[in-house]
Structure formats: C-alpha cells, structure tokens
C-alpha cells in the first residue's frame, strides 16, 4: 500500500506530499490519517447535532408545562439524541482515534485493510443521512427510545424501516472497523513489539474490537426481527402471535451491555496514556490494567439482565445478574486505583489533556458509584427508569467517554496538525465543561431519587427546581463546546510549531512521538526497531 501511495505522490506533487487533490483525497481515501480525520470530523459534527437535540430536551424541561414541543416530538428528540450520540459521536470518535493512532503506536505504515477502511467510514454519512431524514418524513423519527423496545417501536410509521436500515449500516461499519483494528494489531506490529509491550490504547482497542465483532451482529439480528415483525407478519415479539416482547429485551441487552463497554474501554486506554505522560512516571501495574480490561470485557457478556429487573425475572436470575454486575466493580476499581497510584509520587503538570483525564478520573468514578447502587436489585426497583439512571449513564458517558475523547484530541492534536493550540482557550473549555457537566447531571440524581421518571416531556411541579438547575447546566455545557470547535479550527489553521515529542518536559511514551509533527503523510514505511 505504502508503495502505491509513494508512486501516487510523485504524480500529484503538492507541498504537503499528499496523493490526491480536493474531494478525491477524501472520497477515495485509503490513508489511515485521512480516514481518521474524516471519522473525527464526522464525530464532532454528530456531537453538535446530538447536542442540539439535547438542548431542545433541556429547554422543554426548563420548567413544568409544555412550552416548546409536542410530546411526540420530545420522544423523537430523546430517541434520536441517544442514537446520534452513541452511534454517531462516541463510537466514530474512537474509531477515528484508532485509525490515527494505532498504526503510529504499533509502528505500522497504515491500517491493514485500507480499502475496507474507506468503506467503513463512507457508510456512516449515508447511515446518518437516512436516520436523520426520518425527522422530516410523515410520522416523524423513531420515538420509542434508542432501545427500540417492541411493541412501542413497531407502532411507528416509515421510520421503522429507515432506522433499522441505518442501524444495519452502522453495524456493518463498526464490524469492518473492528476487523481492521484486529488485523492491524495482530499482523502489523513493528518487529520486537510483543503484545505486552504494546501501548494501553492499542490494547483497549484490541479488546473493544472483539466486543464489537461479537455483539454488533446480535443487534443486527434483533432489529431484523423487528423489521420482519413490522412488514412481513412474523411474531417474534408480538404476544398476540405467540411471540415475546421480553425476548427482544434479552437480545437487545446482550448487545447493549457490551456496547456500554465498547464506549468506555478505549477511554480507559486513552487515560492510561495521558496520566503517565503528565505524571512523568510509568503507568502503575500496566499488566494488571490489561487483565482488568479483559475481565471487564468478559463480564460485560453476563450482566445484561440488570437492565431488565423490573420487567420480571426469575429469582435466581435476579441474584445472578446482581452478583455478576457487582463483580464488574472489582476490575474497574483496580483501574481507578492503578491510575491513582500512577500519580502518586509523580511530578504532575496540568496541560489540557491532563485536566480532562483528571476530570474523567473523578467523575467517571462517581458514575461507577451510582452503577454499584443500580446493581443492587431490590433498590434498582426504585431507581430503574428514573432520572437516577439518566444521571448514572451520563456521568459515565459524558465526563467519562466524551471527556476521554477530548483528552485524546488535546493530547494528539499537535501531532496531527503540527501546531500547538491555544492552551488558554483549551483550559477555559475544560473548566467550563467540568463545571457545567456537574450542574447538568448531578441534580438528575436528586430528581430520580425523588421520583421523576425518565423520558417524560413534562413533570410534576415538585421537580421544578432541580430541572431548572439541570437545564442551566445543559445550556452552559452546550455553549462551552463551541470553544472546543474554535480551539480545533485555530490549531488546524496554524500556530506555534509543535516539536516531534510535542509535550517537551513531560514524558510521552510511544512510537508516535518519534516521528515529526505533523505526522508525515506516510509514516513507518520502514518498520522501527523496538528494543
């Protein structure tokens, strides 16, 4: 591959040494850096689209009574917000980071399967065009929740087929991305880099990729059964025809729970890269960190029932899913303790990536605590389907996964663009995000405990105060993200030149810091030697 590109470069010689000019460079991209960039730009776009939906939700919930939208549209917003954020923002962001960083970290010239790489990216804009266009069709967008539970989901109109097709496309894209990651890591590591020497980010992605391959087909199967129930008269989930709506929940959450870890394991990898760099100290217990990720991945397959306790489940199953779920706290605890030990007796400095990583450490742990509480079956009957759950999963997904992605962007952006970004603006972005994310989500714990169900457009007046606080936090958090965009655009346009190591004075480790900044279009054409 690299050879072909080198030949291309000779033909279309521009000053960056890139093979193609204009749109062709992106449409026919096979270069992992170009594809990584496209993934990241796509993800950022979806982050703002999904964020706009969240703003509509928080605006409607600002005070009791319906002021802005019809309840049906409100349900479309909650459903689409989740689908867009999960499949459009978080997952593609991690795939983008994998595309950019895995070849650089393992010393490979590119991803192993570049054309499939192109295909897996270009599926996404089509998938999301289909999904988002449902907002403009008669009957509107999916409104039964991102979990698509029948029979509610099947009450929909044409969105059923469109959303299911979009989910199939996203699944295909994810599976291809995952295959690419596995093949690259298994076959293209530089000589001498055995698996245990591999950076934690690659490790976390390797395990994530296996999770993706294991569960995306399960989701595809579940939605296909929805499709045939709706259009071809089957009764997989239709009780009147002898089907079983709860079976959908089982199949869905067999996908859904590993999916949760698909969105957090790469974040663990990122944090494990950043904390040692700015603590100037190697990661504490690197091997046990890998084992911890692997155990979490394994456990993620046997805990799905904890999403459905209130739907009725045999006593033995309730006990089993409670125990297995609680068990996840153990390897997760090991990770948090190891990160803390990494900082212990370190020499800490607080650049933007480190700030986001620290915020992750504290706030993800809060999400972990509410997770343990939710695992306790009997009280889960009180928490389930309330804002307590909403607070829990937003704590692990926003200051968890999203902050890790932002930390990664701030960590590697100078490597990608060759320019340093504005530290002042980035730190402002950090402080605003961290403050507002807590104003936004912390009161939701109170709302849930006090009895406010989730997914409602209007509420009883005793929930007014915390909802207003939460909405103010939401608007603040949403607006703060514009700064993120400004920092990235400024940095892409120019700025102080970054050195090869970028974080001079800190101790970034990994092959990506041995090549110049910006990373040349073709890197590691000759494999580096690893001692």
């Amino acid at each position: 591959m690299a050879h072909e590109h080198a030949a291309d470069t000779a033909h279309h010689d521009d000053h960056h040494g890139e093979p193609a000019q204009g749109i062709k460079r992106w449409l026919f991209a096979t270069n992992h850096k170009d594809i990584g960039t496209m993934y990241l730009v796509f993800s950022l776009t979806m982050f703002f689209v999904g964020g706009a939906m969240a703003m509509i939700i928080r605006a409607e919930l600002f005070k009791p009574g319906l002021q802005l939208v019809d309840p049906a549209f409100f349900n479309q917003m909650t459903t689409m917000h989740a689908l867009v954020m999960i499949f459009g923002a978080v997952m593609p962001a991690f795939v983008g980071l994998a595309n950019w960083m895995i070849p650089l970290q393992v010393g490979a010239p590119d991803m192993a399967l570049p054309r499939m790489n192109n295909f897996s990216f270009w599926i996404l804009p089509f998938a999301f065009t289909i999904l988002l266009s449902t907002l403009f069709i008669p009957g509107g967008a999916p409104a039964g929740g991102w979990t698509m539970y029948p029979p509610l989901f099947l009450q929909g109109g044409n969105y059923v087929a469109m959303a299911i097709f979009a989910v199939h496309l996203m699944g295909a894209s994810s599976i291809m991305g995952a295959i690419n990651v596995i093949v690259t890591i298994m076959n293209m590591r530089a000589p001498g880099m055995n698996l245990l020497k591999m950076p934690l980010f690659c490790w976390s992605w390797l395990i994530t990729a296996y999770l993706l391959i294991a569960v995306m087909p399960v989701l595809a199967g579940a939605v296909t059964m929805l499709l045939t129930d709706h259009y071809f008269g089957t009764s997989f989930f239709n009780a009147a025809g002898g089907g079983d709506p709860v079976m959908f929940e089982h199949v869905f959450w067999f996908f859904g729970h590993p999916e949760v870890y698909i969105m957090i394991l790469p974040a663990f990898g990122i944090i494990s890269e950043i904390l040692p760099t700015f603590s100037r100290k190697p990661l504490f217990g690197a091997t046990s960190m890998i084992y911890a990720i692997a155990s979490i991945a394994f456990l993620s397959f046997i805990v799905w029932g904890h999403h459905m306790f209130v739907d009725g489940m045999p006593l033995a199953a309730q006990l089993f899913f409670m125990m297995s779920t609680m068990l996840i706290a153990v390897p997760t605890g090991v990770k948090v303790f190891n990160w803390t030990a990494t900082m212990w007796k370190g020499s800490l400095s607080f650049e933007p990536p480190m700030l986001f990583a620290l915020s992750f450490l504290f706030l993800f742990t809060i999400g972990g605590f509410s997770g343990v509480m939710l695992a306790i079956v009997p009280v889960d009957f009180q928490y389930n389907q309330t804002y307590f759950v909403v607070a829990h999963f937003h704590y692990v997904l926003v200051p968890g996964a999203v902050f890790a992605i932002m930390a990664a962007v701030y960590y590697w952006l100078p490597k990608w663009t060759g320019n340093m970004y504005s530290m002042g603006l980035a730190k402002t972005h950090f402080w605003l995000s961290t403050i507002f994310v807590n104003v936004l989500f912390f009161p939701q714990h109170f709302l849930g405990l006090a009895g406010m169900p989730r997914r409602i457009p209007d509420y009883a007046v005793q929930f007014s105060d915390w909802n207003m606080v939460s909405s103010i936090g939401g608007f603040g958090f949403g607006l703060s993200q514009i700064l993120f965009l400004v920092v990235i655009v400024q940095c892409a346009r120019g700025g102080k030149k970054a050195s090869a190591e970028v974080w001079d004075g800190a101790t970034p480790t990994g092959l990506e810091w041995t090549i110049p900044s910006p990373a040349p279009y073709h890197s590691f054409a000759v494999a580096p030697e690893i001692k």
């Binding site: 309840p71 303790f337 809060i366 306790i376």
Partner: protein, 310 residues
Amino acid sequence: MRVNRAGAGNHRDSRLLAACCAVAGLSGTAGANTSNGYNLPIGVTDMSKALYGLHMEVFWICVGIAVVVFGIMIYSLVMFRQSKGAIADTTMVHSTKVEIIWTIIPVLILVVMAVPAADIILKQEDTRNSELSIRVTGYQWKWQYQYMNAAEGVDFFSTLKQDSNFARQLDSGIDPNTVKNYLLDVDKPLVVPSGTKVRLLLTSMDVIHAWWVPDFGAKRSAIPGYVNELWFKVDPGKEGVYRGQCAALCGRDHGFMPVVVDVRTPDDFKKWVEEQKAALKQAATPLPAPAPLPVVGADASPPKTAQVLN
C-alpha cells in the same frame, strides 16, 4: 406529602415522616410522596423502608470509598506537582501485594452489600398469601383496575385528571403551579385497604408500561402477553393518597398516565366496595345510564396464571 386521611401517627417512624412532611410543606409544592425532594422516600410499607435502609447503606459505603479514593487523588494533585518541585519516582511501577489488597477489599465490600440485598429480594418476590388481588392493565395512556377476591366485579379505568390534562397541553397558558397535584392526579384512583397484603397482576393491552408508587417501594412492568406480580402492604395508620407515574416509555403521553392509590382502612375499603357494587347493579339496569360510571368489560375474567395472552 398529601395524606388526606392521616392516621393518629402511633408508629415508629412518625417523627421522621413528620420531618419530611415539614420539608415538603415548606417547599409549598403538591408533594405527592414522602420524598424530601432529593432522596428516595422512606415510604409507608415495610418494603419501602427496607429499600430506603439498603439504599442509604450502599450510599454511605460509596461515600466512604469516595472519601478515601478522592482523598488520595486530591492529596496527589496537591503534593506531587511539578510546579512545587516534585520529582517523579519512576521506579514505582508495580506491586503485586497492593494490587492483591485492592482487589480483595472491594470484593469484601461488595459481599457486605449483596447479602442484605439478596435477603430483600426474597421478600420482594414472595407474593404468596395475599389478601386482595387486583388485575392492573396498562393502556396507552391509562390504567385499568379489575378487582378480584372480595371485590370481584369492581372494574374501572384511571385516567389523568381533567385540570392537569388541560394545563399540560402545549402552550395551554395555565400555570402548572396552580393545578393541584399537577400530572399526579386521576379521575378515579385505585382504592386499597391498609394493613392488607395487596397483590397486583400486571399486564398490558398494547405496549410496555410500568406501574410505580415510590412510597410503596413497588415498581413492575406491565407487558403484553405477560402477567407480572407485585405486592405491597401499607402500614395501618398510613391511610391516604399516594402518587406515582408510569415508568416505562409507552408513547406520546407516557408522561401523562399517573398512578394514584387511595389507601383506606379495611372498614372504609369494605364500604367503598359496597358502594361500587351497588353502583354496578344500578348501571346494569337499562335506564337511566349515568354517564361517568365505569364500563364493565365484556371479558372481565382475569388471567389465572402467567401465561401468554392472546
């Protein structure tokens, strides 16, 4: 807390509850449950109290862990700063001993939480020996209550009350704060006796709903084709009106199908049942048909077991 027929208060938790009432009363809202606005309600059943106790136990354990873990993190952030001249100890990379310790301690803590939890699950699932069974059917967007046992034949729908329904329309111009029990009031609440083990048999005629009253510590999904069971037993002396909502997204008006339970003394309940039965007899006679009376369903026979319904 709005308890219409509050008892004399001769029970253990009356002081705690009184404090909660005071908080809810001060905030001036139509608080429908015993929650103080930021925590689980203690509630009015043994189960809800047990759940509250377990919730607080787990919460304080989490707080304890948080104090230790966050304390160490904050200590590191303060003490090991490069700007304060901290030098990194790069030899500190691994310690099997501490890693074993911080694997085992969490396991022990989890066992401490799991044992009482398992105990409560056993009680929660034990629906035997109930004294009154009521079939609860979810519809988009109302509940149907069909009584069995001594109240056999009593059967009615429970829908969002008119004043809430007017106020909740888009741009209704009605301030929700002026509506009593906004979104938490129905035309006809479920009536149950206190001090009685009431079993609900939940199912649905369309999509999945969930029946929830926080003060009873009782929530369960109503699923088409399934009959889920749920029980609660309200403490004697805690008669009053308790409110909750549908807890499973069930379509456009999911937010507008409240659950309201009117708990009465067993004697009052008996009277109520007699009134209902008398009204039913009257409704059965052809003339004149009073408008708001409940329709007696043609197929009022409830399913006997958790079988798939057609």
